[in-house]
């Protein structure tokens, strides 16, 4: 049974094609990697799934529900309950003028939580799951470091325990040792909750560590897909070969 099915997804910005005829599936509990250089359309695919931008063509179904035709209210509901997103730039995923607990509360309030004490307790619990100290729950998100903001985004994305997490370059803007800690955390969350993930990265190391299956995108098209090991160890497509050969 597929959780997420993308069929023939195409998105243009004016005359430019961001992605074209992209198709793939994600099964419950699976981690799918999408790798490619900047401008290859991988982030656009993620934005289309998260309904931040509307696809021009193709279909996206989540648990059998067609996403490309939902209305705004349903879209908001889907984003609160069926999907979570971690942006590369934390400012896009968080309200930096609001406390860390408040950022998580936004999701819980959308789920009709109406008890401030319980909301705060749940926020603290989620923050401890992403290894943020409980006494930081009332601090403004703007007072958080880059690594902590990514942790907070993860906590927020997980607030209503959606079956699907979308990670857009989750560690690209972080120091190397913080990157490692966040990747460990993502792996651990996956092991604990069994949430399915789509991870977009230009970093083959991130993909190798997290993804069971990988798509390689080049100029808006999927040029190769398969088991991560296979794609990275025995690339068939000329572009993938170049990508693998040029990685450090």
């Amino acid at each position: 049974m597929t959780l997420l099915a993308v069929r023939g997804l195409t998105k243009r910005y004016g005359g430019r094609v961001a992605c074209t005829d992209v198709s793939f599936e994600v099964y419950p509990g699976e981690v799918l990697g999408i790798v490619g250089e900047s401008g290859s359309g991988k982030s656009t695919v993620l934005q289309c799934i998260y309904l931040e931008t509307m696809a021009d063509n193709g279909s996206i179904t989540l648990d059998g529900e067609e996403l490309t035709t939902v209305d705004a209210m349903r879209r908001r509901w889907l984003r609160s309950f069926r999907m979570g997103m971690v942006h590369q730039d934390a400012a896009r995923g968080l309200d930096l003028g609001v406390s860390a607990g408040g950022n998580i509360a936004e999701r819980l309030l959308a789920a009709d939580w109406r008890h401030a004490g319980r909301i705060r307790a749940r926020g603290t619990e989620l923050l401890s799951r992403v290894e943020v100290a409980a006494d930081r729950v009332d601090d403004l998100a703007s007072a958080y470091s880059g690594g902590m903001r990514q942790r907070l985004q993860l906590a927020k994305a997980m607030a209503n325990e959606p079956p699907l997490l979308l990670l857009d370059e989750p560690t690209s803007s972080l120091d190397v040792h913080v990157q490692a800690a966040i990747l460990d955390l993502v792996k651990e969350l996956h092991a604990q909750t069994g949430v399915a993930m789509v991870v977009v990265s230009h970093d083959l190391g991130v993909i190798r560590l997290l993804a069971q299956r990988t798509l390689v995108m080049y100029r808006g098209r999927v040029v190769e897909s398969g088991i991560t090991e296979q794609v990275l160890e025995d690339p068939q497509d000329a572009y993938t070969q170049l990508l693998v050969a040029s990685s450090l």
């Binding site: 705004a72 908001r76 406390s99 408040g102 509360a105 936004e106």
Partner: protein, 281 residues
């Protein structure tokens, strides 16, 4: 007669109730729409009035569009019939209509008010018109009008809820003292105007028709009789009305809305109510 008056000749007279008939009719149509959609902000063509915008032009236009020769009008400002804003608005109404005015909330058929709802019972069938400085309850959390309209359309009030949650995190309680956001009929978020929470609590299932006019912002909205008006709150931080420090030092009321006046202690804010209890008029 002034030179201008001479030039104007027969055209010097104003319409009954200052506004021309078409304007009044348009405003009544808007008001009907507002009544049909409780809490929804209906746009109207706010006219230039002989008082500054922000001084009750929305309320006065509603009052003038509704007043008829048989009406008895009461105007209060912060609970006081004698404050400058109330006196001037009452003067405009009487000068352009000749209708009778009163201080007695139980006698008035049309009450225009700012920042208060009378403490004495309103006469059945009377209409209460409130002056509105900011009709948009979401303005606190969202500066863009396009965005707030979308939020209303999608009933997306999470930002307002988040504001209240952050308030509790920061101050240990909801610190909003006026313009307390309320859900109307469980569908629309409404700004009840800067009335105290004491008065917000009165709006729920109230038998009176309340009309809200924002002249500067060009919006009218309404609460028909017996509408659900529920202030936003949390289970562990329920909505609470203000508590006065003492009964009214003048009339002894312990149920009215009272404010502390330096040197005089706690006094009823509704002066007509206070006077009536003392038998003074």
């Amino acid at each position: 007669m002034s030179r201008l008056g001479e030039l104007a000749g027969d055209a010097t007279g104003y319409s009954f109730a200052f506004l021309d008939e078409h304007t009044k009719r348009e405003l009544r149509r808007r008001t009907l729409k507002a009544v049909a959609l409780p809490g929804y902000q209906v746009a109207f063509g706010s006219r230039e009035m002989p008082l500054a915008r922000g001084w009750g032009t929305g309320g006065i236009q509603l009052t003038l569009s509704l007043v008829g020769p048989a009406d008895v009008v009461k105007v209060i400002d912060q609970g006081d019939d004698a404050s400058m804003n109330a006196v001037n608005i009452r003067a405009l109404v009487t000068k352009t209509t000749g209708v009778r005015t009163t201080r007695d909330a139980g006698e008035a058929t049309l009450i225009q008010t700012r920042h208060r709802i009378p403490d004495s019972p309103v006469r059945p069938g009377a209409i209460v018109v409130l002056q509105v400085p900011f009709p948009e309850p979401l303005r606190l959390v969202e500066p863009s009008d396009a965005a707030t309209r979308r939020m209303h359309a999608e009933r997306d009030y999470s930002k307002m809820w988040l504001y209240l949650y952050e308030d509790i995190v920061r101050y240990g309680r909801i610190s909003l003292s006026y313009r307390y956001p309320c859900m109307v009929n469980g569908t629309v978020l409404m700004d009840p105007t800067p009335i105290p929470r004491h008065d917000v609590a009165k709006l729920h299932q109230n038998p009176t028709l309340y009309l809200f006019g924002a002249g500067r912002e060009q919006r009218v909205y309404a609460l028909p009789p017996y509408t659900d008006v529920v202030p936003l709150d949390f289970e562990d931080h329920p909505f609470q009305t203000e508590r006065a420090g003492a009964p009214c030092a003048r009339c002894g009321s312990d149920t009215s809305y009272r404010t502390e006046v330096p040197g005089q202690g706690w006094l009823c804010s509704d002066t007509a109510y206070c006077d009536a209890r003392l038998g003074v008029s």
